[in-house]
């Protein structure tokens, strides 16, 4: 029976994890454990590690309280841990707790399974690997091939940790035992050889042990022994020399674990200096002294406490890029990892760095077209991935166009000072045609990608209503600057100027404005400024600048007819739009129901004022001979109540006006949590 349960638990957990403990715990249970429920609701995921700790502490109490829990409770408890650890897999302490609890609930096999999950989720944790291997050695000593494969994997992942001696001790102990049984010593020798090259804290211990081992093994052949000892000596000395320097930095690492709070500045500086030291090739420090993998391990270790610091991710990425392994695309995995942990507003530099690296890879490295093509494809893929994360960022569409042009040789073919620049007109023609079909298909909403050129087809993933303006602007620019076709541009403007997608595109309207200025079309300019703020919504600062520039332009180039053509007072209404772009002559509404009326005197606070609906204030009294009418009053019910300010940050307001803002999501999330 017990075994069946365990299997079930293991099998189920390989499916997508369910992360809501309430699914397993019924209301009675929750009522009985109000403390736990309180802790669950109080979790502040982003800032407060204490709240998470309290929650898991309460969960642990449940285990103690229910000595023989039923399956539901067991699962509920496991879910609590999964909830925390899928979000923050770097909390190794909680993995340990989870292991202990799963041992208690489901027995040994399940706890080993949890440990395995832990090293998968957090592969660079020395502690977790040691735990895992300890448990394996103690309980599954028969499956030594399996255990050995794990040891080998761990030696790559955590073996180059400066403090990795517990692991190596374990490994050596394990292999020594086996070799004593089989009498085969080559493996253990290899391990020692390897260890002695790594700058470890306990380096001396291993070299002494190794020497002892060799002396034992080669008792009979002194020549071999001498050779081995010499090679050991050779590799031992430089490592020994470097240890002191490394210790300077290693000794200053006070917090090597992950936490939600910001890391103290001196820790950050130390990591920074450490990495600088490792990366600067000096005479003392060349690649033979420090294995490359050691540096990589330092990076990985650094990224545990500095997980949320973009700076270190960039450093790592650049380091990987400069290494130029056979398969350089690998450095992109760092971009992906970085993006998954960094907050949305703090990853732009990392993205930009990655794109620059890729760009360089495509256009500078080697001549092999297939590798270049591979780079090009992955560049596009990265762009599309980024676009999914930040669909409002036009930058990626621009990047795409840039790279596409470069890739397809759409540029000047010659630029000698004395000769006129020549354009590859054929390439440009093709380019323009591609853009035009793309736009046409986009706006006709047809299943457009099939009819498109293969290169542009990629592009379809990136286009949405926010970014389509970039394509239009590009098209107009090419037509204007390369082909110099004024008529064609007018046609394009006529096609697109009314599109709702372009209503708030600064790029498009600036180009439109510049073009109309160039051709001195005062009619078009006037109607543009009339529409500005009413149908065209640009940032106020941009509008202000445009108004300023337009006035200068008209005064210098136009005459009275030009400014009064549209309407007599058009010229004066320009100033009204400054800092108030929505202003329009027809729009002024005056009555008692407007917001402006209700909030007069106290911005943001709406007040119902009592009014006399047949006011006689403005009458000339002495004209008529009969009495004034009696007042008809509009008196609000709660006139004497305190005035309430509008709270612009209430859930209702955001749901109504905020759309998909981040704040809205958070608020919605909280609301859901509270309902339960």
């Amino acid at each position: 029976m017990h075994a069946i349960h365990t299997n079930m638990a293991i099998n189920n957990s390989s499916e997508p994890l369910i992360l809501d403990p309430n699914l397993y715990l019924d209301s009675n249970f929750i009522k009985e454990n109000s403390e736990w429920e309180k802790a669950y609701k109080a979790i502040d995921w982003d800032n407060n590690v204490q709240s998470i700790d309290t929650f898991l502490h309460e969960t642990e109490k449940l285990v103690i309280k229910y000595s023989a829990p039923n399956e539901k409770i067991k699962r509920g408890i496991c879910t609590c841990f999964n909830l925390v650890l899928t979000r923050y897999p770097l909390f190794f302490g909680y993995w340990k707790k989870f292991t202990a609890i799963s041992y208690r609930l489901y027995g040994l096999d399940y706890s080993i399974h949890v440990l395995e999950r832990s090293v998968n989720a957090f592969p660079h944790s020395l502690e977790l690997w040691c735990d895992y291997l300890n448990v394996l050695v103690a309980n599954k000593s028969q499956e030594y091939d399996f255990i050995r494969s794990k040891f080998e994997l761990a030696s790559w992942l955590v073996g180059y940790h400066f403090m990795a001696h517990p692991f190596w001790d374990k490994y050596i102990e394990f292999e020594t035992k086996l070799s004593a049984e089989t009498g085969e010593y080559s493996l253990i020798q290899d391990i020692y050889k390897n260890v002695c090259k790594i700058p470890l804290y306990h380096h001396a211990k291993y070299s002494t042990n190794y020497r002892k081992l060799i002396r034992n093994l080669h008792k009979d052949s002194p020549e071999l022994l001498k050779m081995e000892e010499e090679s050991l000596h050779k590799s031992h000395l430089p490592v020994q020399n470097i240890l002191g320097k490394l210790w300077e930095f290693e000794s200053k690492i006070k917090q090597s674990f992950f936490n939600l709070n910001p890391l103290p500045q001196n820790e950050l500086t130390n990591w920074d200096n450490y990495l600088k030291f490792l990366l600067v090739p000096s005479s003392l420090l060349n690649s033979s002294n420090i294995p490359e993998h050691f540096i990589e391990t330092v990076f990985e270790r650094c990224l545990i406490p500095c997980n949320k610091y973009e700076h270190f991710w960039i450093k790592y990425l650049v380091y990987k890029y400069k290494r130029k392994d056979a398969n350089s695309i690998k450095y992109l995995s760092i971009l992906k990892r970085g993006l998954s942990v960094l907050p949305d507003d703090r990853n732009d530099t990392l993205i930009a760095t990655a794109l620059t690296c890729l760009h360089n890879s495509i256009f500078t490295e080697g001549e092999n077209p297939s590798i270049k093509n591979q780079f090009f494809q992955s560049y596009l893929e990265v762009l599309i991935d980024l676009y999914k994360i930040k669909p409002k960022n036009h930058q990626y569409v621009l990047e795409y166009l840039k790279i596409y042009k470069l890739w397809n040789g759409i540029k000047y073919s010659s630029h000698h000072i004395d000769k006129n620049r020549q354009y590859n007109l054929n390439n440009y023609k093709k380019y323009v045609k591609n853009l035009e079909t793309l736009l046409q298909k986009y706006f006709s909403k047809s299943d457009y990608h099939r009819t498109l050129d293969i290169d542009v087809r990629f592009f379809r993933y990136m286009l949405n209503d926010n970014s389509i303006d970039t394509v239009i602007v590009e098209l107009i620019k090419v037509r204007w600057f390369v082909f110099k076709e004024t008529l064609a541009i007018k046609k394009i403007f006529a096609t697109y100027w009314n599109r709702p997608q372009l209503k708030n595109s600064v790029k498009f309207w600036l180009l439109y404005y510049k073009f109309q200025k160039k051709v001195k079309d005062f009619d078009k300019l006037a109607s543009f400024f009339t529409r500005l703020g009413e149908y065209i919504f640009l940032p106020t600062l941009v509008i202000n600048d445009m108004l300023e520039d337009y006035k200068t332009f008209v005064l210098l180039n136009g005459n009275l007819k030009d400014i009064t053509k549209k309407s007599e007072d058009f010229w004066l209404t320009l100033d009204c739009k400054r800092n108030d772009p929505m202003w329009s002559k027809n729009k002024i509404k005056r009555n008692w129901t407007t917001k402006r009326y209700k909030s007069a005197g106290h911005a943001g606070i709406l007040v119902e004022r009592p009014e006399s609906q047949n006011s006689v204030i403005h009458r000339k009294v002495l004209k008529k001979n009969s009495a004034q009418e009696l007042p008809t009053l509009k008196v609000p019910h709660h006139m004497n109540n305190a005035i309430k300010p509008i709270n612009y940050f209430t859930t209702d307001y955001l749901q109504q006006y905020g759309g998909n803002t981040k704040m809205n999501k958070i608020l919605k999330g909280n609301a859901v949590g509270k309902n339960k």
Binding site: F481, L555, T564, Y597, G601, R609, S612, V621
Partner: protein
């Protein structure tokens, strides 16, 4: 004979009056200090015109008159001096003169001075027998200052006037009650007083027939279900005791006005709490009247006034409400704040934005120029805009006069100068070459300013907006006094390149522009660069005799020179901004130039 000798005496004593001459001297040196004027007028009145009677010598009378006139020209918003002046004339029996002074004061304050109105109406009550004429004045005052927060005294005056002139008969009483009824709705400081007057009037009702004075006949039947007109009802009423019915109706009437009271009280309290109280709380810096140009009101006062005005604007639901907005604009301006352009500009902008009253806006700005002599460029610019639209520039002469009268073009800031240049250009464009002699040489304007001031920022403007090639003109002046400094400036060349690229009408083709920049401008600028280096080196290296030392110093100097002279980075910036593909070509040019420099 007698008066003549009197005059002679007065003039004599004036000539011997040392204090008087001291005060006059003071005044000449500080004509904008109100205190010096006040001292003078007080001295004159105390010593030569007390006690005031008709025997006042002509010369003295003329002197005091002209002093008053001068004060009021210097300080047009000194309301109480108009009154003093008028009373001075009144005491001398010059009725028409008195009225003229009041009217002048009212005109200057756009009929929106409560103080002047009250005194003027009191004066009219005393002297005028033409009831209709005076009533007209009362009605005018009603529309202009009736909504003033402190208009209580005016209304009392008005009510008294009605009572006295229209009599206590039935008709007069109705007029009186109608006016009182209107006052009830005005949110003003003394509102409660008028309510008690109104309730007293209700209490005085003795007969059902008097009820018509308080509400029209129709309303009695609709609201109180009592038809005082119909015959049957009258009969019915005659047959029963009317006392209780009357009492009941009075109570109902009172209740309606108690509700009105609550409404008005709300508004009065709102205005008082938000604006009038903060304004009156500040005793040291008066927020209600003008004192002098020297003590500009505190920032706090300005804030409250601006908020107050905005409040009135926001509340203006009907065009009739504009009168309150205008009244408060004027109230705000009749303090020391009239010397700030903010309020005047806000006033004119409001007239444009919400009332479409362009002539009014222009008029307000004309008035403002009386108070703002310095830093009035914003006002003049705004006026130019309006004048252009209203086409009142009179072929440009009006506009030009405005600028020459109120802005010193030679000393103004660059932004103002640019605006001036733009308007003049516009006038030239508009006139369609009819009268070339009226055209202003705008090219000359810019060139003069550049030569005189060497403003790089002006070059920036010119390079992006003007088609004329001013750079060429400047380069022709090379060698003239002080011009080298401008031509050697790195930005001069940057803007020259930009001008060619963006504006030059002669080179139509981008290729032509590019080659002109790369083949002409940049080499020319580098020549200048080398020349100025030679100059620089010669100055610095004099007195060094040791050859090796000299060489060492030379390379050091060059390095330093490259640090100081920003021409190369500036040109590079241009190439990066506009001609990215030619960056390598540009670097070649630079390298050649540097080699030449090393060989110098």
């Amino acid at each position: 004979m007698n008066t003549n000798s009197n005059n002679a005496n007065a003039v004599n004593s004036l000539q011997n009056d040392t204090l008087y001459s001291k005060l006059v001297n003071n005044l000449i040196s500080n004509p904008l200090r109100l205190v010096t004027w006040e001292k003078l007028i007080n001295h004159l009145i105390d010593n030569y015109a007390t006690p005031l009677n008709k025997s006042l010598p002509k010369e003295i009378h003329g002197l005091i008159k002209s002093t008053y006139d001068q004060i009021l020209i210097q300080f047009p918003y000194l309301e109480n001096y108009y009154i003093d002046y008028a009373m001075f004339e009144f005491k001398l029996g010059n009725i028409s003169e008195t009225q003229k002074i009041f009217e002048k004061g009212l005109k200057i304050t756009n009929n929106r001075s409560l103080l002047l109105w009250i005194e003027f109406l009191k004066f009219l009550n005393k002297v005028s027998s033409n009831k209709k004429k005076v009533t007209k004045y009362y009605e005018l005052a009603d529309t202009c200052i009736g909504l003033h927060y402190y208009s209580g005294p005016f209304w009392e005056l008005y009510l008294n006037f009605i009572r006295e002139n229209y009599g206590c008969n039935n008709n007069g009483n109705i007029q009186y009650l109608k006016l009182l009824r209107k006052i009830l709705e005005i949110p003003q400081y003394d509102f409660a007083k008028f309510y008690s007057m109104w309730l007293d009037e209700i209490d005085k009702i003795n007969d059902l027939s008097e009820l018509f004075k308080f509400a029209p006949k129709e309303e009695w039947s609709t609201k109180f279900e009592i038809d005082l007109q119909s015959h049957s009802q009258k009969k019915l009423l005659n047959s029963i005791r009317k006392g209780p019915i009357l009492f009941d109706l009075k109570q109902k009437l009172k209740k309606i006005f108690q509700e009105l009271y609550i409404c008005v009280e709300f508004k009065v309290m709102e205005i008082y709490q938000l604006f009038e109280l903060p304004l009156s709380a500040n005793h040291l810096t008066p927020a209600y009247y003008y004192t002098s140009i020297e003590s500009i009101n505190s920032k706090k006062n300005l804030d409250v006034w601006l908020k107050y005005i905005q409040y009135c604007i926001d509340l203006s639901s009907f065009p009739e409400d504009y009168s309150l907005v205008m009244l408060n604009f004027q109230r705000c301006l009749m303090t020391n704040l009239c010397h700030l352009d903010v309020i005047w500009l806000k006033y004119s902008q409001w007239l444009i934005k919400e009332c479409n009253d362009y002539f009014g806006a222009l008029d307000v700005l004309w008035q403002s120029l009386r108070f703002i002599r310095k830093n009035n460029d914003k006002i003049v610019i705004k006026m130019s805009d309006i004048m252009i639209i209203l086409n009142t520039t009179n072929e440009g002469t009006e506009l030009r006069k405005l600028w020459s009268d109120y802005v010193s073009i030679d000393a103004c800031e660059l932004s103002t100068f640019i605006k001036y240049f733009e308007y003049m250009n516009f006038l030239n464009n508009t006139k369609e070459n009819n009268q070339p002699q009226h055209k202003m040489d705008t090219t000359r304007l810019i060139i003069d300013r550049i030569i005189q001031r060497k403003e790089i920022a002006l070059l920036d403007y010119v390079s992006k907006n003007c088609q004329n090639n001013y750079f060429k003109v400047i380069l022709q002046k090379q060698g003239e006094k002080n011009m080298d400094k401008l031509i050697n400036h790195e930005k001069f060349w940057y803007f020259y390149c930009e001008y060619i690229w963006l504006m030059d009408p002669q080179l139509r083709n981008f290729e032509q522009k590019r080659s002109f920049i790369l083949n002409n401008i940049i080499p020319q600028s580098l020549e200048m660069f080398i020349k100025s280096y030679t100059h620089y080196k010669n100055v610095k290296l004099e007195g060094r005799d040791n050859n090796a030392k000299r060489k060492n110093a030379k390379s050091k100097k060059l390095k330093k020179y490259l640090d100081i002279n920003l021409l190369i980075p500036m040109l590079e910036q241009f190439i990066i901004n506009y001609l990215m593909e030619d960056l390598t070509t540009f670097h070649k040019l630079i390298n050649n130039c540097l080699k030449k420099i090393e060989n110098v």
